[in-house]
């Protein structure tokens, strides 16, 4: 037993439970302090996670749980995402009738689920961590009980999420039936061959289940509806955290557990990547709702990141890690602004952003920077992520024509995305507002969280070296046979 390794996850879970208990004794007007405490606690855990060195992989629970460089990278990312999501929640929960502490506790539980997922080395832990996330998200998505879109999004997420979980668990069962073991690879069990039909079908079902998490074609239908309906902090956590957890699991399954199968399925994965890029970008063009637009664009970004998987190399995995971190900064900033710039109950229409540069120059600049980073324009972090992903595809294109086509599709998608991202920038800076609206006051916590995201967007874009080295180190921990 090596349970000490699971300290960060345990601490996050304990923080969530403690929050729920403390909530019982906190008067209604002091609930906000609980949120501050949660942010502080999570930030402490994030700082504490740097006590773990990224040395040789360490295992707990008989190899079910692995703590290696990649798991650590993802945990730090998710803790960071959690801190910002909590700050957004603290701001956003002012419009809830009650339940600030519950909302924060649920976010913490979701973060803990993502952290377990980052360390999954066993099909059972994979499923349990995914369920911990998914079930929590059912509640988080429909948390605004009085707003119909939120409830509708919750039901959609529930039904499709349950379907995806069914795929996942059925796939796991088939894989177990075919191999007789539940361990992934490495020290706890042999890597999966492509031998039996049972295993192949099982892995395909697992891919579908995880594809739901990352929002790739053809498991993407939930994303726009849920992103639009869910409270902004929930959507932020879905986009930045849940997607990252999905990619963590996908990297482990495809590159560590079943590399032969992944190689065999490479054409299919390439097709999925290309289709996600085109679908997400083309569907985002006519959107008027900011959160819905981000939902479609999240499908496209899943497609870009799949480019890092199809090359089936460490460099591709490192590119995904870098991209995820950059994407998290940009998308968190965008959802934070969405949480702050619109009145309670107001739909997040893009034309309503007109005049934002006068109402709050800070929010305007933040949203514009986030959009420009998502579009992938230098010198912001989004560009460097795309640069790394495209680098792998262009290299492969020298040997295989189909990669050349994939690069072309990615290029078309990126240029298409300029149109709608810049459409948001236009709305912010020069569309004429329908009516003069009052300035927006940004609270200190939300402002600081937004500032952290912006620093990430700019600093990691101009000086990508430290983050890139961390991503390479993390990807180096992948046990690619």
């Amino acid at each position: 037993m090596n349970a000490i390794l699971t300290m960060p996850e345990m601490a996050v879970t304990a923080l969530a439970l403690g929050l729920l208990v403390l909530d019982l004794w906190t008067p209604a007007d002091r609930k906000g302090d609980l949120g501050i405490a949660a942010i502080g606690g999570l930030a402490l855990i994030l700082a504490g996670s740097f006590l773990f060195g990224a040395g040789a992989p360490q295992y707990a629970f008989g190899g079910m749980y692995v703590l290696d460089g990649m798991a650590l990278f993802f945990k730090r990312l998710m803790l960071g995402v959690g801190v910002v999501a909590l700050a957004a929640a603290l701001e956003y929960s002012k419009r809830f009738a009650a339940g600030t502490a519950e909302y924060c506790a649920l976010i913490l539980l979701a973060v803990s689920g993502m952290m377990w997922a980052a360390s999954a080395n066993h099909w059972a832990l994979l499923f349990v961590s995914v369920e911990l996330m998914t079930v929590t998200f059912y509640v988080l998505v429909s948390f605004e009980r009085t707003r119909m879109p939120s409830l509708e999004a919750g039901v959609k997420y529930l039904i499709l999420g349950a379907l995806a979980s069914a795929f996942l668990v059925y796939g796991v069962a088939l894989v177990f039936g075919g191999t007789g073991t539940l361990g992934f690879a490495g020290d706890s069990g042999p890597g999966l061959g492509t031998g039996s039909v049972l295993v192949r079908v099982g892995l395909a079902l697992v891919l579908a289940g995880l594809g739901f998490k990352i929002g790739m074609v053809p498991c993407q239908f939930w994303a726009p509806d849920v992103y639009q309906g869910a409270p902004a902090p929930t959507a932020a956590l879905l986009a930045a955290g849940s997607k990252a957890a999905g990619f963590a699991l996908l990297l482990r399954v495809l590159l560590e557990a079943a590399p032969d199968w992944a190689l065999e399925m490479r054409p299919v994965l390439m097709l999925i990547a290309g289709a996600s890029i085109l679908y997400g970008n083309l569907c985002a063009i006519p959107q008027r709702n900011l959160k819905r637009l981000l939902g479609y664009s999240s499908i496209a970004h899943a497609g870009y990141m799949l480019l890092g998987i199809v090359v089936l190399e460490r460099a591709g995995a490192a590119a995904i890690l870098f991209y995820l971190a950059g994407y998290a900064c940009a998308v968190l900033a965008a959802f934070l602004v969405a949480a702050l710039a619109f009145d309670p109950g107001e739909p997040e229409e893009i034309p309503a952003l007109a005049g934002l540069h006068r109402r709050s120059p800070y929010l305007a600049a933040a949203l514009a920077l986030s959009m420009i980073s998502l579009a992938g324009i230098p010198p912001l972090v989004g560009f460097f992520g795309k640069f790394l992903l495209l680098k792998g595809v262009v290299l492969a294109a020298f040997d295989s024509r189909s990669f050349g086509w994939l690069a072309g599709v990615a290029l078309a998608g990126i240029v298409t995305s300029f149109y709608y991202y810049f459409g948001v920038v236009r709305a912010i800076y020069w569309s004429a507002p329908a009516a003069e609206r009052p300035p927006i006051a940004v609270s200190r916590v939300a402002g600081a969280a937004l500032g952290a995201c912006l620093v990430g967007i700019v600093a990691a874009g101009v000086f990508p070296s430290p983050l890139l080295e961390a991503a390479r180190l993390a990807a180096g921990a992948l046990r690619i046979p």
């Binding site: 324009i377 010198p379 300029f418 236009r426 800076y429 000086f463």
Partner: protein, 517 residues
């Protein structure tokens, strides 16, 4: 620290400082921007003066700082004979653009921050010796251009124009990015450093088949950015809708990036791929010269006319590049410098005219030489320079292009020389006649002729640059020629194009050393 690094850091530091400055004090922003660009101009002039002509082939004022070691990316700046003139021209155009920014009355702070960012991007693109930074610096200008056209642009089409230029240039940059990445792989994935890549390409050229696959990407990417026909439609539209400083900086300096990239990256690194495309490029250049020239003749608005004429001028440069000869490339580089000043001058003047008349429709203008003698004279000179009259900077460049391009492609050169110059004269003189001569409408009896001498300064400097270059092209040609010869060498080494014939060009420049060998 290299003088180039200082020139690059100045606008970025000013940007950071001004961002923290309260936006109420409007004059401050313009004063600092003008001051900074002036210091840049002085430093760049100093660099051009100190530049060692005897070693014009090698890079000078070099500074190299490792940036992303694991990918072989470093911050690497330096200039050789080819780029020193461009950097100097870019600082001059930046200064002129900063001076022209007095027309901006609203959201002054944001405008000047964007202008400084664009300024840093333009200078960085010409000074960088690392493919990655070369690309990034150019892209720095993409967002400012979009915002400037959208917020401060003129005309009902500004939103459309802003999107069109952004999407078009975005497409060009993405194609270019794929091409640059491909070059990186051809060279073994070790470095993005242009100097090392070029040395590698000289010693052991990359496989010909791969070069042929990569060059079209580079040509398309750089071609779109430099408004190569038929990918030029963004340019006149956007320049017509852009505020004056943006149009000056973009048309004058930034658009030269695509041409500079062809000379700095595409030709030296993948010469074997380039050779087959040179005749295609020559015919596309004729598309620029003739098609866009004829379109310019038919324009009803002055700024559109200038926009199309500036696209048409790209044709001379493409023709010079397509010649693949040292003489032609030298000419192309001279035209790049001259046209930078010319485009900034024309757009600056038409911008001031627009401030006075609120319209640039040629049918409604007329007789403006009377109330505006200074502006009118400057515009006449700009238009004469545009049709290639001797004495202005464009003339020696165009002449060298024709001399260089004659041996390999007599037909294309003959068409360009005979037809394009005539077409150029038609639209240039038409602009002069319509706008400046004839009866003066009553509305503009009292039009302000740049009465403030400070506002005349940028135009005087640009005109002085044009005339100086036209009368004494020697210093610039001496700097460009060795670098151009180095670019042309691998292209000429193939048996296809004939050797250089010594021509009367000797009167303007020393004959290339290769010819005597």
């Amino acid at each position: 620290m290299s003088i180039l690094t200082v020139i690059l850091l100045l606008p970025l530091l000013a940007l950071a400082a001004l961002a923290a400055w309260p936006s109420r004090q409007r004059v401050m922003f313009q004063a600092v921007t003008i001051g900074i660009t002036f210091v840049e101009l002085v430093l760049a002039s100093l660099a051009a003066w100190q530049f060692d002509v005897s070693a014009a082939q090698s890079f000078q004022f070099v500074q190299k700082v490792p940036w992303i070691p694991s990918l072989g990316i470093s911050f690497h700046v330096g200039v050789d004979g080819l780029s020193v003139g461009l950097v100097w021209m870019a600082t001059l155009v930046s200064f002129a653009a900063a001076c022209a920014s007095w027309e901006i009355r609203e959201r002054v702070k944001t405008f000047h921050l964007l202008l400084l960012l664009m300024n840093a991007g333009v200078l960085g693109a010409f000074a960088s010796l690392d493919l990655f930074f070369f690309y990034i610096f150019h892209e720095l200008a993409l967002v400012p251009t979009f915002l400037m056209i959208g917020i401060w642009g003129r005309g009902g089409q500004r939103s459309y124009a802003a999107f069109k230029i952004t999407l078009y240039l975005g497409l060009g940059s993405m194609v270019l990015l794929l091409g640059l990445l491909a070059v990186f792989f051809l060279a073994g994935q070790t470095t993005f450093d242009m100097v090392e890549l070029a040395a590698q390409a000289r010693q052991s050229p990359f496989p010909v088949a791969r070069q042929q696959a990569v060059f079209p990407l580079l040509l398309l990417g750089f071609g779109i950015l430099a408004s190569l026909w038929p990918f030029h439609t963004w340019a006149p539209l956007a320049y017509g809708a852009a505020p004056t400083p943006t149009a000056m900086l973009h048309a004058g300096a930034l658009k030269k990036f695509g041409l500079y990239g062809l000379l700095r990256v595409a030709l030296p690194l993948v010469p074997d791929g380039a050779r087959d495309w040179m005749s295609v490029l020559a015919w596309l250049a004729l598309g620029n010269l003739l098609f866009c020239g004829l379109v310019a003749v038919r324009q009803k608005e002055l700024d559109r006319l200038i926009g199309y004429s500036s696209v048409a001028h790209m044709g001379f440069i493409f023709l010079g590049i397509a010649s693949g000869t040292a003489l032609g490339i030298t000419g192309a580089a001279v035209v790049m410098v001259a046209h930078g000043m010319l485009a900034a001058l024309s757009f600056g003047l038409s911008g001031h005219l627009y401030q006075q008349t609120r319209t640039l429709e040629l049918d409604r203008l007329g007789g403006l030489l009377r109330p505006m003698p200074f502006l009118g004279t400057a515009l006449v000179m700009a238009m004469l320079a545009a049709c290639g009259v001797p004495g202005f900077g464009n003339f020696p460049g165009e002449l060298l292009v024709f001399f260089g391009s004659w041996p390999p492609r007599p037909a294309a050169t003959a068409i360009a020389a005979a037809a394009a110059l005539v077409v150029g004269a038609v639209y240039a003189l038409r602009a002069v006649r319509k706008a400046l001569h004839g009866p003066l409408p009553d509305a503009w009896q009292a039009a302000d002729d740049l009465s403030n001498p400070w506002r005349r300064l940028p135009f005087v400097l640009l005109l002085a640059g044009l005339i100086g270059l036209g009368c004494f092209p020697g210093p610039l040609v001496d700097r460009i020629q060795p670098a151009a010869a180095a670019i042309a060498r691998p292209l000429e080494s193939a048996p296809a194009p004939a050797a250089l014939i010594p021509l009367p060009a000797a009167a303007l420049t020393r004959p290339p050393e290769e010819a005597s060998r």
